[in-house]
Subunit: 326 residues, 2 copies
Amino acid sequence: MQIHPMWEAYPELQSELMQTIELMDSRIHLRNKSIEHALMDMMHTGGKLVRPAFTLLFSTFGEDHDPRRARAFAAAIEILHMATLIHDDVIDDSPKRRGQSTIQSKYGKDVAVYAGDYLFTVSFKLLTDYSNSMKQMQINTNGMERILMGEIDQMHLRYNQKITVRNYLTQISGKTAQLFALACYSGALEGGQSERFARNCYYIGSHIGMAFQIMDDILDYSQTAESFGKPVLEDVRQGIYSAPLIYAMRKDHSAFQVLLEKKEKITNEDTIKVQQLVTDLGGLDEAQQLAGKYTRKALTRINQLPDSPEKKIIRKVTMSLLDRTI
Amino acid sequence: MQIHPMWEAYPELQSELMQTIELMDSRIHLRNKSIEHALMDMMHTGGKLVRPAFTLLFSTFGEDHDPRRARAFAAAIEILHMATLIHDDVIDDSPKRRGQSTIQSKYGKDVAVYAGDYLFTVSFKLLTDYSNSMKQMQINTNGMERILMGEIDQMHLRYNQKITVRNYLTQISGKTAQLFALACYSGALEGGQSERFARNCYYIGSHIGMAFQIMDDILDYSQTAESFGKPVLEDVRQGIYSAPLIYAMRKDHSAFQVLLEKKEKITNEDTIKVQQLVTDLGGLDEAQQLAGKYTRKALTRINQLPDSPEKKIIRKVTMSLLDRTI
């Protein structure tokens, strides 16, 4: 089995992550073997595994740390993440994800919807089978509920040219930061750390998630389709306007108005124009600064963690994930 | 609040069901109030509430029965059911459900996918908040996982004219009977009944679910669109071939071949022809007999329950749900 090369520098964590993937594999059971294999392929191909890595790392700070349970929580987080990705692809009709065909494009909308649903239940079942208290279950299901509430609440801002930076931040908090926050928080509590300690981990995860999403949105404007592994400016076509565009629109809204009014009918030439305008108006630079702000917030809190080899890894991983933002 | 008139004959159960709906309402929280209201509307309009009613009824047999917890489990079952209905409507692009516009047709595919996902987490959170042991959680999440596995496994038989009655039974077992079975089983265990007792309730629910789905499939061939509240033979258009058609094809496959080969391009005139052929070839009668077989199996097991007012209601409800099949 191969996982993302970024973990090669940390052999112990790499081994834990590989065991996490094995656990995920072992929980997928479908009579339809081609869909079963499609889900396993998705697990094995190229996901960075950042979220489960954080769960594993933050679980090491407590006295009651149990590696089996930590891996189960890490697997539950990653499977939940996969479920939301599969459903995102249904909504966006995306042909590609991480350079691979999506479940949706290979098997159709029907399989993709049910495959995502099935993964939700697999994720919950993992939590149920490994949690050692109802309180642990509640923490995880609360977090999951908030993530799905966030997904819905972002919907009503589509194609809204008046979207503000604050709207955007609320959106990505629900969509991305909550899952990172839950990954860190549930890891810390798994290890038996105090609620107060876990709260700090929650904020670390949340700040990392914010910076991570802003960086991802910047890449959408600064890369070509090939290097990105998915179509460029797909978000703009779907009516999702992110930080670089919002900042650029603040400088000169009229430059974008006609292009964006075409909504989903925007042409490829138009999107190249949008990409150029965003760069010229400094949207990428301002978004970089925003990401940098969250990265620094995360690092400040990480520095308050007790010293340990895992603390060092958390800092290094955070910096390498977000390295262009500091 | 109004619920389906079928419960008027049982005032206590009616009151419990109304409190269950109130509990469901109280668990839905979205910043987007129009989607929140759409979900609540769906809860209030016309669902028969058969599944939660069975959970409530079967919970009364045990010594540890706690009405609050029983209502929570009933609510979790109904919310899970709603989530799968919303996703079914996404897959089928259905404009109507129970005579009302679907979430999908009112708010679009994106909202419908996430709304279903959100309801999954609401359902799990209810279980988590009210279960008094990890074992109770495990039973419910096991059941839920099996239901979603069933949803996927039915997919690969679409548009397959060689589908057998056995294939069909496996399909509806996953799609419908499992949820009825879980409703009865988790009710029985909630009340503190033995695993052995709850197993019998599981089979009662499963048999009722089988008969219920066969009846529903018969209605698809024997009713007009108006009286049914949704388009007739929509299943055939989607490639889902149910008992009446399978039995009729066994009599004369060649009569259907050309019509069904059109797959989703089948015309309204074609579907009327299919409907007529199914009736003429005795498909409806044979399907009725099949439903009757499951109803009788359910009633035999119901008779073995200890005498109680709720046992009488279970028998009456089962007979009135499935009355044309005995």
